[in-house]
Each structure stands twice: as structure tokens, then as C-alpha cells.
């Protein structure tokens, strides 16, 4: 059984009809995880718990019970979402032994919907990174070329889906952490509107930017997962009351008359020629299908990276203060004073990139610098929001490349953080504006690496994103299965 050949909806029906056993699907996933362990996609695999859950679903099917929408779907969870009793590390040494007493709302909703949570995936420590090389549990490798990174920070989730270890996965996206690895790994990844999915139980990085979203092998499966996890949660005051659309239904409409905006700022210097070519070819496809292509401008795009790195790190500097060795997680034992315990615990527990960002964020909030950095960033952030408001007066959806290049080599950018930060240049603005963004594969480079295209939509208009993506996916008709990993 190959998970890459299954869709969540077909699986649901086949399990209900007794043609397929959830246990077989789950076993296939576990085998695949074990066989491809060198990709290092998982930090924790829940083999026994997943099999037990699969058996439950099979029993329910045998009894003739009505099966929930994700019945039997094997799903992987980025290891920065808590699950009761399951070790949750956030890719950090500082949480090497942490077992949370409660489950994140999004994960809970998946389980209630019949999903089998197969394990917790590897990530950049506290979701800080664009290559999944910043994990205390080792880097994740790209199944298309194991000398390359899968993107990050949700690299483990992207790889799990790309290489058939899971049918879907959850990631979190603060500046591109779902879309960029989806692009580099050749899968669909969706960052919903800020507030669309509850953040309760997501280990915070940049609280005003973080959003949980799905990875899947098809747009339809992504729509199905989003439909389950979206919606208001009384435990998250920033989650929205806006009604959740029927995403699966919405994808079946065509795109004729759809106004597609193409922002010139996203096609300039630094964009790989092959990436540009594939994205432009896709835009042509949309036009052929009846969409109207419109030139637009998002003039404040050039400020997105500095603004993002000030806001995200400022919030992170506070969010990561709780890892102090007092109550849970790693504690440096040799310290004799409280202050020494704090500083040694945090020095030994955090990796270099996390420390860099905590220091940057602390500095941005310091007395005398606040207005200049954090305050000003907030002002520019509203300008960027304004850019999107203006753009969406003219168009329904925006098309850009997801990342400037296909997957890069491991170690290629680790020495230069600024170079690394640039790989999120096209994805960050959606987080700053709070609008939804989706990445889907739109072709392969000449060296056989997947290229991603990004669709950006209006607030809470995931339906239009998914519809556009589904239409394009059908039109491209390509198979994005990575070659067998040696």
C-alpha cells in the first residue's frame, strides 16, 4: 500500500465499505517511516498508539458505524503542538523530556475526526528557521535529493507527506514555515488566515503571526483537513468567530472570471529563473481557464523582512522566557545560584539561532529602543496590511512564487543568517497582514527539484485559494512523487 496514492476521501469510503483496513494503512505508514528514517522527519513515532487507534476505526467500520470525515487518515503533527502524554520537544534540547498534560485544539479536532496521529515531526528549534537544520534532533533531509534541505521550519511534516509516511500533516507558519517547506518538498501547504485555526496548544514563537495549517498531497485533502481544524475555540481569544466555509465543496467551481493579481515586487531580483518560468507558466494556465490576470503592486514588500524579524523576535523573546529550568524541561544542574541556573539552563538548552533571536527581540523591546524598532515595525506592518487591502480591491487572489529558489544544499546557508532569512521573502507578508497563503507544486526544475507557487487570498477566503489551487492542480496534471530514496 502506498500512501502517496491514497486520498483521504477515497480512503474514508474504502474503509467504510470494508475494502481497506485502517490497520494496513497505518502499518504501511509506520514501515515507510522506519525505512526512510535517514530523512529524520520524525522526532517521536507513536507506533503502538497509532495501531491501536487504527484497530478502533476498523472495529467501528465492521460495526457499520458512521465514520468521521478523516477516518483512518494517517496524520503527522509538527512537534511544536502539544499532545497529552506524548513527548513534545519543539525541536529543542530544553524540552527534551517534556510530556504535556493536555492536547492542542487542532490535534484534538483531528483525533475526534478519526485521524490516526502517527507521530511528531522534526522542525527547526521553536520553529525558528527555514531549512530544518536548527533542530536539536538533527537536520531533516529532502526526499527529492537527500543532500538538500526540505525547507523549514515545518520540514519534518513536509517530508512526511512528500515521502508517503503520512497522508497529511500539521505544520505551523510564522513567516512561511508551512508554505516554504511545502514548496521545497513538492507538497501542498496552507497557512490559513490568522485566527482561522486555534493556536491553543501550539508552542508559541511569534504569537501575532503564528498559525497552524495542513500539508497534503492534494488540494482536496488540504481542504478536508482545514475543514476539520478551522473554527472558533473558546481557549484562544484570537481565534475568529467567522463561519467556516465548506472547503471541499468550494473547490469544485471553476476559475472563469476570477481576478488574479500578479504583484511586480515578487518577480524581481533574487528570483531563480526556472522558478519564475514555472510560476509564469501557471499564470498562463489560469488565464487559459478563464481567469483575468491583473498587474498589481504591494509597494511596502521591501520592508517585510526587517519588520518581521523585529516583531517575531520581540514576541519570541517573551514567549521563550518560560523555559527557565524551574518547572519542566531541561535544567542545568551544576548551578549554585538562581541566576546561574537560569543562564546555564538557557545557554545549554537553546541552540544558536534561538539565542540569536531572543537577543534580537530583547534588544528591540529595550528601554530607549522600543519606539525605534518595535513601535516603528508595527506602523510598517499596518502599511503592509494596507497594501493587501488595496490589492484585494482589484483582485480576488494573488499569485507569487513561494520561495526564490528550489531546495538548497544542507549547510549552504547556515553560516549566513541573513541569506537564510531571504528564503522567506515571499511568504512573510501574508503573516504580517494576517491573510491566508497556500503553496502548491507547479513544476520541477531542470535538476528535478519541485518548484512551488503561492496563492494569497483575502482574510477568511481560504475557499478561493483552494478553488484556484485545485483548478490549477487539475490543469497541470503532474505527479509530484519524489524518486525513490537510496
Amino acid at each position: 500500500m502506498e500512501l502517496k496514492r491514497l486520498t483521504i476521501s477515497s480512503l474514508h469510503n474504502r474503509i467504510a465499505r470494508g475494502e481497506v483496513k485502517a490497520a494496513d494503512v497505518c502499518r504501511a505508514a509506520l514501515d515507510r517511516i522506519e525505512r526512510l528514517s535517514e530523512l529524520n522527519a520524525f522526532i517521536t513515532v507513536r507506533a503502538d498508539a497509532a495501531m491501536a487507534r487504527a484497530d478502533e476505526i476498523d472495529h467501528a467500520a465492521e460495526r457499520g458505524d458512521k465514520l468521521p470525515p478523516l477516518a483512518g487518515a494517517v496524520i503527522a503533527i509538527k512537534d511544536n503542538m502539544v499532545m497529552r502524554g506524548v513527548r513534545t520537544t519543539a525541536g529543542s534540547r530544553i524540552l527534551f523530556n517534556y510530556k504535556p498534560p493536555y492536547t492542542a485544539t487542532a490535534v484534538d479536532r483531528l483525533e475526534t475526526a478519526g485521524a490516526i496521529i502517527v507521530g511528531k515531526t522534526n522542525l527547526d528549534e521553536f520553529a525558528m528557521g527555514s531549512s530544518t537544520e536548527n533542530s536539536a534532533y538533527g537536520p531533516v533531509r529532502n526526499p527529492w535529493d537527500t543532500t538538500r534541505v526540505p525547507g523549514g521550519s515545518s520540514g519534518g511534516s513536509a517530508v512526511a507527506v512528500a515521502s508517503g509516511m503520512a497522508m497529511g500533516a500539521l505544520g505551523s507558519d510564522t513567516g512561511g514555515s508551512i508554505r516554504q517547506p511545502a514548496s521545497l518538498s513538492g507538497v501542498v501547504g496552507l497557512k490559513p488566515t490568522y485566527g482561522r485555526v486555534s493556536r491553543y496548544g501550539l508552542i508559541a514563537f511569534g504569537s501575532s503571526l503564528d498559525q497552524i495549517g495542513p500539508f497534503a498531497n492534494s488540494v482536496e485533502d488540504a481542504a478536508r483537513i482545514l475543514g476539520v481544524i478551522a473554527g472558533h475555540d473558546p481557549n484562544d481569544s484570537t481565534s475568529s468567530n467567522v463561519e467556516v466555509d465548506d472547503y471541499v465543496k468550494s473547490i469544485s467551481s471553476d476559475v472563469s472570471g476570477l481576478r488574479v493579481g500578479v504583484p511586480r515586487e515578487y518577480y524581481g531580483e533574487g528570483l531563480d529563473v526556472e522558478v519564475k518560468g514555472k510560476v509564469e507558466a501557471s499564470i498562463m494556465k489560469l488565464q487559459e481557464m478563464g481567469a483575468e490576470i491583473i498587474d498589481i503592486s504591494l509597494p511596502h514588500t521591501e520592508y517585510a523582512i526587517p519588520v518581521y524579524y523585529l516583531i517575531a523576535t520581540a514576541e519570541a523573546s517573551a514567549n521563550l522566557a518560560r523555559y527557565d529550568g524551574v518547572r519542566y524541561g531541561y535544567r542545568a544542574e551544576e548551578a549554585s545560584t538562581l541566576k546561574a541556573m537560569y543562564s546555564r539552563t538557557r545557554d545549554q538548552g537553546f541552540g544558536a539561532e534561538v539565542k540569536r533571536r531572543i537577543m534580537l527581540g530583547t534588544y528591540a523591546l529595550s528601554a530607549g529602543y522600543y519606539d525605534q524598532y518595535y513601535g516603528k515595525s508595527q506602523k510598517v506592518r499596518s502599511l503592509i496590511e494596507g497594501d493587501f487591502r488595496n490589492a484585494f480591491a482589484k483582485c480576488d487572489v494573488i499569485v507569487t512564487p513561494t520561495a526564490p529558489t528550489p531546495a538548497f544544499k544542507l549547510g549552504e546557508k547556515t553560516a549566513d543568517p541573513l541569506e537564510m532569512y531571504l528564503s522567506d521573502i515571499y511568504t512573510i507578508t501574508a503573516n504580517l497582514a494576517g491573510v491566508p497563503g497556500l503553496s502548491m507544486p507547479c513544476g520541477l526544475s531542470s535538476s528535478g527539484l519541485p518548484i512551488g507557487l503561492q496563492l494569497i487570498g483575502k482574510h477568511f477566503d481560504e475557499a478561493t485559494l483552494l478553488r484556484t489551487a485545485h483548478n490549477l492542480e487539475q490543469a497541470l496534471g503532474a505527479d509530484f512523487t519524489p524518486p525513490p530514496v537510496m
Binding site: L95, D324, V326, R327
Partner: protein, 490 residues
Amino acid sequence: MRDKYEAVIGLEIHAQLKTDSKIFCGCSTRFGDEPNSNTCPVCLGLPGALPVMNRRVIEMAARAALALNLNINHESIFSRKNYFYPDLPKGYQISQYDQPFSERGWVEIPTSERNESGHATEWQTKRFGITRLHLEEDAGKSLHEGMPDASKSYVDLNRSGVPLAEIVSEPDFRSSWEAYDYMQYLRRTLLYVGVCDGNMEEGSLRCDANVSVRVRGAEKFGTKVELKNLNSFKFLQKALEYEIDRQIAAVEAGEKIPQETRLWNERESKTYAMRSKEEAHDYRYFPEPDLPPLITAEELIQKLRAELPELPEARRRRFVEEYELSFEDAAQLTDSRGMADYFEEVVRPSGNAKAAANWILNELTRELKSAGIDIAHSPLSALQLAEMIKLIDSGGISGKMAKDVLIRMYQSGRPAEEVVREIGGSQVSDEASIRAFVDQAIQSNPRQLEQYRGGKTGLFGFFVGQVMKLSGGRANPQVVNEVLKNALEG
């Protein structure tokens, strides 16, 4: 030498709002439970947990703000106050900084210096400004004493997330007693509006002070020192007094006062430096991204304003005017809302405010105090006390006898008449003795006698009263009636 200087004092008061559950989670706020039993992922600051505002807190805070004449901001925002401490599980406290819950309030209250024996020298009404009242969550508590391993520190997070109102005054106090009187008034007001239990021992009400001294008449403030650990009214006043003296002495000796935080040590009656300005925290406040702005609806404010009880100072003034009470009596009677309510419940049926005040402030207070009972639960009801006062006023019993009657009523809960009848054993019923009282009453009131005999028979009651008074309330009323009637007619 002290006259040459003046102190400048501002107070920061933390009042626990007495909601049943915490400010950002559903955990109980009960005091004294097993350590860490009232906790959840939110108040433990576990990874991934998020705060959710408890709407009840807004109502309580609004009541306090309105009682202190503060302007409530329609939209206020929460901020993170960042610092490391073992009892602070998130490494930041959710508080308010820019755009607090309410701003620009004041109180106008009587205040006085005290003489050597602690008595007020001269009450004056002064107005003190209140900068702001904002909301925040409480931290946990570090435990040291009575723990199994003395080499370890323990933390109890039951208090983590209990709602606090921080009430910051303007630097308007010029003496320790002004600060003391303000603090007393603030506590009383919070109790009146039912938002804080005011228990300083349990930490429901905590106080920090900022103190500086300057040469009287100078415009510039001196360097301000922050005083902490002032957790009783006595400590507050003593610590301020000590600190003012210490600063004046330092200035006189030509020393520079460093900006620092000092801790009051009660055992030694001294303040000690805790940390200097250089070591002071940079709290790096920034808006809390996990909580939307807090909206306080105008309708809610209007509703709460309409429901606000009469506040202690207004009530004290009314008691002086309406009931012609002394300043001290009115102040004592309005010290708690329960006492003031009780007083008015006695005055209404008895019509005798003076007597009501005396009985409540003396006999009743003494009994309640020795039994440790709050006046709201007094075994002697206000109506019973009113009936007793009426009996006295009608001459039914003497004041002297009434003391005994009150105690018996208090103990038995039975009505005044019944108690008086019961102690009738000590009543004087023989005609000869009573005739002596009657004769005396008639002789000392010739004018009334003349009027009575001229037809004003309503004065009969007056003579009964006189006889009862002369007999110390012990004369048998029936015998008095008979003998008096004969004597007056004769």
C-alpha cells in the same frame, strides 16, 4: 529640623479582586488550598497555553474605578511585563501599561496628623489624585518555611493568575499619616463596593510606596526611593516615617540619596536597600498578542454606576448632617458598610440617632468584638435594638437597666419586652416605695402638674417616664399607673 523639609509620597496598591475564578483561566482563587492544586496549563504557563479574559473581572474593576472617580477607557490593552522569577511561570506578567483600564481619578477625604498617643490632632479634608487603576495577574508564591528540604526552594502557583487591580496614586501625600488615611479609605471603599476582601495578612491588599524628601517650598522632587513589604497599615506608617527621617538625615549630612528599592524590616523597624537603579529591571513592556483589546461597554459602566452604593466619605458627611453626629461617631459608623447599614436600620424605627450611635459603638461593638462576629451577623438585630431604644425613650426601662437588657437580648435573641418582663423580679412593686417616687416626680415638675390638671392629660406618659427614671426603670409599670393616677387626680 524636620519642619525644614517636606516628604513626597505616592502609593501603589495591589488589590485582589474577589472573583471565584482566576483572571485568564477557570481555576479557583480560593486561599489556603493545597499548594499547586488550583492550577491548569494556563496559570502554570505551560507551553502552548493561552489566556482568556474572565468577564467578571471587568465588572469588579469597573466598580472599583467608579468608586475612585476614575475614567474608564472604552478600550484598554494588556501588555507583557517581562522579568525572570521562579514564581512567575511565563517569565512575564500580563499587566497593563499604555492604555490602562482606567485613569485620572481622585478621592477627597479627611486626614489628620496624630499626637504622641496616636490621637488625631486636626481633621482636614484633602483631595488626593489617583493616576490609574489597571488590571493584571498575580504571580505565585515562593515557599521557604516548613518545607521538607531546607536546601531547596518551593513554588506554589495557586495564586498565579488571581486578578489584581493595581491602583497608583499621584505623589500627593506629604506625611505618613496622609498616606495612612488614604490607604484606610481605599481599603474601606473597596470593601464597600464589594470587590476586595481587604485582608492584608493574606495578601489580598498589598502596598508599595515611593518616597522622597525636599526642602519645603522647593518645586523639584528629591530622588525617589521605592519601599516594599508594607503589608499592614502600621508597617506602612512606620516605614514611611523611618524613611523620611533617614532621607532627611542623609540630605542634612550632605549625602546623595541613591535611587533604589528598599525593604521594610519589621523586626528591626528599619528599611534596607534591596536593589539599586542600575540593577532595576527593564520590563520591556509590549502589547500582549494573545489578548484582543479589552472593551468596556458604556452601557455596562452606566449600569454599574447606577448600582454603586453610597461611598464611605459621602455617607460619613451625610451622617454628620442628617443625624447630627460627631465627626468621630460618623467616621466610626461608616467604617464598614455593614455597620452603617445597621445604624440606619436602627435609626429608622427608633427615631433616635444619638442613642443608636451610642449603643452600637459601645455595648454592641464590645460584644461583637469579643465574640469575633461581624455586625452583619449580629445576634441582636437592628430592629430589636430599635425597640429597646424606644422602650428607654418611653421610660419603659432606664438606661442603666437597658445595658443588662441588651446583653440578655444579645445572648438570647429574644425581644426587648420579653427580656424586661423576665428580669421583672428586680422590679419594685410595693405601693409605699412607688408612692415615694411618684411624689418626688410631681413635686419636681409643678408646671406639668398644673397643665395636667388643666386638662392636658397626655402628660400622663411624661410622669410615668419620670417615675421610671427615678426608680431606675425598676418600678412596676402597673402599680405606677395606679398610684400616679390617684396622685395626679388628687
